[in-house]
């Protein structure tokens, strides 16, 4: 049940990415190119996704628990730290260079295009690398500080 639900939810997400045009790097990059061939579509994608999610979460998160788990797994941190801001800034640079973000690239794998495979392989390597560096940094920093 859990697996079928997960598959269907992934499919809805992947179909949404495909319909919205966000699997297409040129379309994503043209949103940011206000000085060139501006394509405002990404704002409509974000707008549609945000309205539905904000309304839906209001009802869902009022419940004591999700349907097939004992508790909601929500991020609880509210502090703004350097890794959050620097990491997000770095992510934007990569997004601007390649035109793919993770949520756009993963469904785009289904088109079988080699460019997507190359990007995703590099992205996974970047995640592994960053995890290793973060682990090493955490090991060197005393936890009492």
């Amino acid at each position: 049940m859990r697996l079928i639900l997960s598959y269907v939810i992934g499919l809805v997400f992947g179909l949404g990415i495909s319909i919205s045009g966000m699997a297409n790097p040129a379309k994503v990059l043209n949103f940011f190119d206000i000085a060139g061939n501006w394509d405002p579509s990404l704002a409509f994608v974000m707008g549609g996704a945000l309205v539905v999610t904000a309304l839906g979460y209001r009802f869902v998160l009022r419940r004591p628990a999700p349907l097939i788990d004992t508790a909601f797994h929500l991020p609880t941190r509210r502090d703004l730290d350097a890794p959050l801001i620097l990491g997000s800034g770095v992510f934007g640079i990569g997004w601007g260079i390649a035109g793919f973000c993770p949520g756009g690239a993963l469904p785009a794998l289904g088109t079988g295009r080699s460019e997507v495979v190359i990007f995703v392989a590099a992205m996974l390597a970047g995640i592994v690398l960053a995890k290793a560096v973060r682990g090493a940094l955490a090991a060197r920093t005393p936890s009492t500080v």
């Binding site: 839906g56 909601f72 929500l74 890794p83 620097l86 997000s88 934007g92």
Partner: protein, 144 residues
């Protein structure tokens, strides 16, 4: 430079489906629909049960273009302005950035912003800004 057509209705509708997926995942498994978190958890699962739902979700995501093909008769359009080396460099940078930044456009930009999480709002504003600067530099300063 590759031109694309402004598609307000498809983008709004596709965005609504992305939001629907986020709401359904929270309602059933109680999880945030963030691409970064889902693939990171696949590479570093807490246990087998944690791995399988993520794998099923990813399989569903990858089936998205085929579902689009069934509905529309064509694969979603993919135009890649970046060269192979830019894809590799960009991919590495994205992987590093989303790991330290704890999320990407789906996790911070949709799910976190929808909850009005201060971390997600700051993260989203930050990466939208640096993406715009990067595109401007590549297209208008370097590329010309």
């Amino acid at each position: 430079m590759m031109e694309t057509v402004f598609t307000p209705l498809q983008s709004l509708g596709g965005g609504a489906l992305i939001g629907l997926a986020a709401v359904l995942l929270m309602a059933t498994l109680g999880r945030v629909m963030g691409a970064t978190g889902i693939v990171t958890g696949l590479m570093q699962p807490a246990n087998l049960g944690d791995w399988t739902w993520r794998a099923a979700l990813l399989a569903g995501m990858i089936s998205g273009p085929a579902a689009f093909l069934l509905l529309s008769g064509q694969m979603p359009e993919i135009q890649v302005p970046a060269s192979t080396s830019m894809l590799i460099i960009g991919g590495l940078i994205v992987g590093i950035g989303v790991t330290f930044g704890s999320g990407c456009t789906s996790g911070h930009g949709v799910c976190g912003m929808a909850r009005l999480s201060p971390r997600s709002i700051v993260a989203t504003l930050t990466f939208m800004f640096t993406t715009a600067i990067t595109v401007f530099v590549i297209r208008h300063l370097i590329g010309g």
